[in-house]
């Protein structure tokens, strides 16, 4: 029984990371039709910004405080980079979808290479406060405490995004835009500002996902963003593009499948099972995955 509890919580914890990475992608694609390959670069940027913060701040502050600040920095850096990328690279290519995708591809290659150039291709260890590195006893199972941090972060972001979407004007424009972007413009609403904000939000969530991914792996490395990005893509496809709740459910499912398969079968099978899950979902309900931009 305690095994199941451990697997479920760690699975959902993993899913929490995927949700953080995927939520921004889902919104960006749902609203703007841009398949953002640079999202992986946002994650790596957030991870490295957080790592630099932690190693740059004086030890006297204590690990927990430094981590908290690192989190704040990674979110801010992610948001800033997302905003800049949208305004400088994406906006000028408005309505040229393939070119927008290609630009994000080029950006992702260049950004990761730049990070590798400056800080090397090896992983850099990330300090973890003792209370986070230990385990917590829940229902007879010893669960790594950091999983709870991930789940808390994901719930917070989910709640915040939901509130944004349903209680603010910006959220209203986003929801309408996901359905029919052209009509929103035809009602006199400037979607460009909304696009920039959505990219910034996506970047912020990605930055957080990157740093927490580093917490999970106990290190930051240049290729971390890329591997998480693929899972984020899978989550977005399964969950439905532009649907926040769908993304949340899919993220939890993917995390659980991966964890369960890795445990009950062999390590590595979990990753393959996720692809299998994608294939199964596609074979059963392809219609739900079209989104507004098939």
């Amino acid at each position: 029984m305690s095994d199941i509890v451990l697997l479920v919580v760690t699975g959902v914890g993993l899913g929490a990371l995927y949700f953080l990475a995927a939520s921004g992608l889902s919104l960006i694609y749902g609203l703007m039709g841009v398949l953002n390959f640079a999202h992986g670069a946002f994650m790596v940027a957030g991870a490295y910004a957080g790592w630099l913060t932690m190693t740059g701040l004086p030890d006297t502050l204590g690990v927990t405080v430094r981590l908290a600040l690192a989190i704040a920095v990674s979110v801010a850096v992610g948001a800033l980079i997302g905003l800049v990328v949208e305004v400088v690279l994406i906006r000028p290519l408005y309505r040229h979808h393939i070119q927008q995708v290609l630009v994000t591809v080029g950006l992702s290659l260049a950004a990761v290479a730049a990070i590798q150039g400056i800080w090397g291709s090896d992983a850099h260890p990330l300090e973890k406060p003792r209370w986070l590195a230990s385990t917590t006893r829940v229902a007879g199972a010893q669960i790594p405490t950091d999983r709870f941090l991930f789940i808390a972060a994901a719930l917070l972001v989910f709640g915040a995004l939901l509130a944004l979407l349903h209680f603010t004007r910006l959220g209203l424009v986003i929801r309408a835009g996901v359905e029919n972007r052209t009509m929103v413009e035809a009602l006199g609403i400037n979607v460009h500002r909304t696009f920039s904000v959505v990219f910034a939000i996506g970047g912020a969530a990605a930055g957080l996902a990157g740093l927490l991914g580093g917490v999970y792996a106990n290190s930051v490395s240049p290729l971390q963003g890329g591997s998480m990005l693929i899972y984020a893509f899978i989550v977005v496809v399964i969950g439905g593009m532009g649907s926040l709740t769908g993304t949340a459910v899919a993220a939890a499912a993917v995390g659980l499948v991966q964890q369960l398969a890795n445990y009950y079968a062999a390590s590595g099978v979990g990753d393959l099972s996720v692809v299998l899950l994608l294939a199964v979902v596609l074979l059963i309900r392809p219609a739900s995955l079209q989104g507004a931009h098939s």
């Binding site: 209203l172 359905e179 029919n180 009509m183 413009e185 035809a186 009602l187 979607v191």
Partner: protein, 250 residues
């Protein structure tokens, strides 16, 4: 192709709210509008007529900027060809598209607030012209009937001050009773802002239109007073391929 040359004067005074000059639209290899020119007077309803596929919707889209265009478009004397769609709408051109295009996932209230800011169904005009919508404000727009959706599409453009309204086939697919309702609403709206109306339903045109512009093969083939055209069944049949004998009893 009709032998009728474009008859009827372009309005001389006062300034037409909209002047379209030699408008061309080429899209995907087809030359849809081939030099369309007409005026929309600053008051009343101008109906844009023509057979199916002749370019009526394309004309509205071109005026707004939703279709790639060359030529002149003047709003109250100002050249708007360089304006973005958003700017054109903000400057007072309201657009009610064919097929309504309300946001199905949003409630009626939200659909209205999108345009009206903080004011949705509470706006005076909504209560006045669309009382049914006030009752349905929390209902998802996707669950409304066609007629109700049409009301939403109309109501939302009225939440902004308009200098001109572009309305595309508002009675399409509606039951006769609803057709009357929509025509009534449009008639009342026309008292506050001029309307360029694309319509296939000729009784509606006869009821509320003041001027008509007829398109054929990408060009204007007739301009004049609505009454003149509507009272001439031979002419209507020639230009529109429809017999006016078929009058809907309302």
């Amino acid at each position: 192709m009709s032998t009728m040359a474009a008859t009827g004067p372009l309005t001389t005074s006062p300034t037409p709210i909209l002047r379209v000059e030699d408008l061309h639209v080429r899209y995907g290899g087809s030359h849809i509008l081939q030099g369309v020119s007409f005026d929309v007077p600053a008051t009343g309803v101008t109906a844009l007529l023509g057979r199916n596929g002749v370019g009526k919707t394309t004309t509205l889209k071109a005026v707004l900027g939703l279709a790639p265009r060359t030529g002149g478009v003047l709003l109250d004397g100002s050249d708007i060809t360089r304006w973005s769609v958003t700017r054109t709408v903000r400057e007072g051109v309201g657009y009610v598209p064919e097929d309504r295009e309300v946001f199905g996932g949003l409630t009626v209230e939200e659909n209205l607030r999108l345009v009206g800011g903080d004011v949705g169904a509470d706006a005076a005009i909504v209560g006045e012209l669309f009382p049914d919508l006030v009752n349905r404000r929390e209902q998802r727009a996707g669950t409304l009937s066609g007629g109700q959706q049409q009301m939403v599409a109309l109501a939302r453009v009225l939440l902004r001050p308009n200098r001109l309204l572009l309305v595309d086939e508002p009675t399409k697919g509606l039951a006769p009773k609803l057709v009357t309702e929509v025509a009534d609403v449009l008639g009342r709206v026309a008292q506050t802002a001029p309307i360029l109306l694309v319509e296939q339903n000729l009784p509606v045109v006869r009821r509320i239109a003041d001027t008509v512009v007829v398109l054929d093969a990408g060009q204007v083939v007739y301009r004049g007073a609505a009454d003149d055209l509507m009272s001439d069944p031979d002419l209507t049949r020639e230009l529109l391929g429809v017999s006016m004998r078929r009058e809907a009893r309302q």
